[in-house]
Chain length 345, copies 4
């Protein structure tokens, strides 16, 4: 059977490493090209970058060159820093390649919002409309037709999956949603920042970007597409937790009326009952991040405080899988007509 | 100079260890007696329990016996499991000893609330009224006169200190306060529970007691004493974070009107300006738990989202110091007329 | 294609969990039975024990009953505490089943040595001779014919693989080998011991069993089978390192004559050149445990100090894979005539 | 009482932070000056560098300027990178100041050895002879007279203290000593190196500098001063362990004749019996690094394998205290005629 030729740009980061791990065992994919950044000095065997792949994949890691990237593949994953892929994707699309972008470059429809949240004007705003926001459980049909997919942020994935059924079924107020999110360190990417050193992180814990995190607008945009009783408004406070992987988001929503756990369960079942990776845990059980590490799952749990009119939802994902590389491959599977779970753990 | 003779019951737990560490260097204290639980088999040198104290303190750890405890001391710290100290404290008080209880036994004024939250009826409800709830920054005068102090819970300390100035100054709505709290593992005490094993905790993170944590009623009771515009109502979701020590609580409160950071700062200054351990961090800086580990401090930071009418407050403490042993010694200092900071790091 | 029916006894431990993970995706295996210990109270869905397997495998975990175990399978993995499997294996063998035992029960040929190191007499010494010690790289032919395989200990695996080529080629003195071994916590198994609690292990490090670890005799026995210039004698000091998984063993051996790195490399190439999981890293590079976590690999590296006549070898493995479940499946593959790497990551 | 004016150069590193913590509470010291590196841009309040010192010490951190440093103090601690202090110390000494250097610059008597191990020629070899190597338990008299003290390396401290009594009493062979050393991350200093990131270190473990660590020559030099039966020769393999603080060194020495634990104990007692920080643990007990964290202690334990003629010694220290700042203050105490334990925890 013929396979799709796939390239990865940004292969040396954490998401890149996971993409290699998944794609080299994907039954319908041939990995053809691994690029780091444009500043990468010379081709280096993959095993020198990641010793774990020694003997498993015989490809060099080369400097990012959009033309060579386009030649090498039918579909490219861009796991590059924010602001880089918006200049790489256009050349790939112009050559007829498909693109899954793991950065924030194509997530927001509004170029002004992009400029505000990412601190730089968008260089290709004309592509924003055609980009499809990649939550396979919620937007499968546009993803099947997409040529350019904007893979969601890690926090955003956990929040959107947790809130979507409640907003869709008008069970909660769309405004005033509070998200207290906690993430391990790989969420910050593979770079040597002083406050990411082991001796600064271990036995530590802190909140950051309390005044606003760039995942807020993509969450509000995605939920707005599903909400039937008003514009969603999210407050999200992210926290750094001393662990490598994993996100746990705790959400506090106001009930739109009297609710029971069972009624909420039905709303989740309606949205996720036929999907492979998202599930609501049984009543009064709470997921731990470890239970989804190494998987493409998002596990959800909730409780209703009827006295206070409050719904509390907890979501856990592996930030590098359902929050990045896993969801990206799930999106590729839809784009290429493969089974949705192909190649995924 | 004469010193106060002090005993510790529950000396083999984490809070007990911290009490020993502090009290053996306290200028006005002589440690006279260390008791474990009533089931402790035979006297054991302290250095066999905690090798770090070898050569530093020559006291045996013995089985808990309330009569011997009362004989040995002028003041006793009870760092025992919930439900044990309510039967030990009465004998100490009857012998004229002072007591600082680190468990939950004397924190709630309402015996019915105690029974509901701690799962057992209170055996000495007549003592609940005289027990003083030990937040030195908020209730210093009653503490100076107290014979029985109920030392607050670790989560409760962080929440009460963070919210008190806002409620006192009527800057926020007392109802609908959301607290997302995160704690290291020593908060659960020193016991061999399966889900507290290293291999279950490391690289993990989870929410627990989502339907209600026993620190909620003591927070609501303490804040009610300060609130001027209604009865406080708290939703608190605690989380376990893979670290030994430290609590970070993130609080979401609804503004009672238009607010600025500066106005809030003034409210905190009014309450904590003359106190040694609680401070508001400068605008747009956020505390990390490490910055207070090993200290008796509570560091606070906040932001106002004027559009949403939301105040977000972050509080960090060392759960074993300001959240337990440190605050207990601070309370003892008030009870005994010592300088408030005596002996504290 | 027909598959082998496989049962796991001890399915609720760390090695059991890894066995389930591997075997449920093994192309030639059908998992038919999961047993815990004999004291397990009642059948429980696997997803209640390990939420990560929800939806992936629909088998209950039941109490260990050797007769039911024998009925359920063609081959059984016994991942039970030391001293239990010696009473389970005989019934399986008598029913014509094959057995891979992950405990120490069948590793030593000498029943007196077993009694000395494991503190209990062997109940079925007649089986010790037929048990094959399961290092696939060194003893592949007996393993292909084996009905009872004694899967090596985790430390032992790292030491034997590191030292075998040197002893086989008579490059080092067999006596006076020093092994300084370091392991993560899962090596101690899934049980709630006080000194395995997170708050006792994190930010800690210690040596244990300095006077002798039970893996020493199996190492000496295995290496004796390969040594041509005398009886190997090993000193092994194990250490607990605050991490979940992984073993790193550092070995110090006396050179039997003048040596170069290249000559040693040739010795390793001769033994492992055609094997899939063991390799010598390039000169002057040193493996990290993370590079083999999640794999069945053993990575080795070495240096020669010609002045001192010393060879230093470092070996890293994932203690739950090459040190337990992975090697066990590799052994099963040989026993059943499957490709050696079938089903392994 | 008049106090000694003390300055710290390199105040922003981990050792600098510990020096501040100790010295600000030292009864005979006034901290007068805190310098970072020469590249430090402008004076910054200490609390901006280390929020934990807010309100506790009102000194700015300024750029390193040797003249200002000399003016500010009677004694300076230099906690600077290797190769920097050799150009700072001469100016301080010329101004009559005392110096405790925590770097490697003045540890080796032989300038050629310095050049070989530190990769740069020594710029002031004339000072090497007068520098006193600062192990207070072994060289107290020269330290009392010293003007320039070379504070030992962290690994070196643990090895020298562990081996000295054995060599002094001629109980072991001085050649062929094997040291397997393990350290937490703060040993590498506070700098943003890619392989010191949390996500690279957590759940990881590795050996480094297997071909030779720069602490070997200082160990051999210090032990040579004590050895009576030949020149010590050490093989030391250091390892990185995923924890912040702490060193555990495991040493393997060949007995010079028949030995018992009790005879060895007597040798340790003879050397350390009257010293405050070094002790041998009781027979068959083994120290954990946590038991000395936060203290200036070195805890030792040992066993004798009579069959193999081997002595195994385990040493634990807090690398930032007995391995750096604590020992430096202990040395200052001797140099200044203070009680040896003054100011130390």
């Amino acid at each position: 059977m013929s396979t799709v030729r796939v390239a990865i740009a940004g292969a040396t980061g954490y998401a890149g490493e996971e993409l290699i791990r998944i794609l080299r065992q994907h039954p319908s994919v041939t990995l053809t090209h691994l690029a780091a950044s444009a500043k990468w000095e010379r081709p280096v065997p993959l095993a020198d970058v990641f010793p774990r792949f020694a003997g498993a994949l015989d490809l060099p890691v080369v400097a990012l060159d959009p033309s060579r990237l386009a030649e090498s593949c039918d579909l490219a994953f861009l796991a590059l820093p924010h602001g880089v892929s918006m200049d790489v994707a256009p050349r790939l699309l112009a050559s007829g390649r498909k693109v899954v972008d793991l950065a924030g470059d194509f997530r927001l429809k509004d170029p002004a919002a992009f400029a505000r949240w990412y601190g730089t004007p968008h260089t290709h705003p004309e592509l924003l409309e055609q980009a499809v926001y990649g939550v396979p459980e919620l937007f499968p049909d546009p993803l099947r037709r997409a040529r350019l997919v904007a893979n969601p942020g890690c926090y955003a994935t956990s929040v959107i999956l947790a809130c979507a059924p409640l907003l869709k079924a008008q069970l909660v107020e769309p405004a005033g949603i509070i998200v207290d999110a906690k993430s391990g360190l790989t969420g910050a990417g593979r770079k040597a920042a002083p406050d990411m050193m082991f001796s600064e992180v271990n036995e530590n814990l802190w909140a950051y970007k309390v005044n606003g995190h760039q995942h807020v607008p993509e969450v509000e945009q995605a939920l707005a597409a599903l909400s039937r009783n008003g514009q969603p408004a999210i407050t999200l406070v992210p926290h750094v937790v001393p662990m490598d992987r994993g996100i746990l988001s705790t959400m506090y929503l106001r009930a739109a009326g009297p609710l029971t756990w069972e009624r909420l369960q039905a709303a989740y079942e309606a949205v996720y009952g036929q999907t492979p990776y998202v599930r609501l845990r049984p009543k009064n059980t709470w997921p731990k991040v470890r239970e989804v590490i190494g998987t493409n799952r998002c596990d959800l749990a909730l409780t209703v405080d009827e006295t206070k009119g409050l719904v509390i939802v907890v979501a856990v994902i592996d930030n590098l899988l359902k929050g990045a590389a896993g969801q990206a491959v799930q999106n590729m599977n839809l784009m290429c007509g493969f089974p949705e779970t192909a190649g995924l753990p």
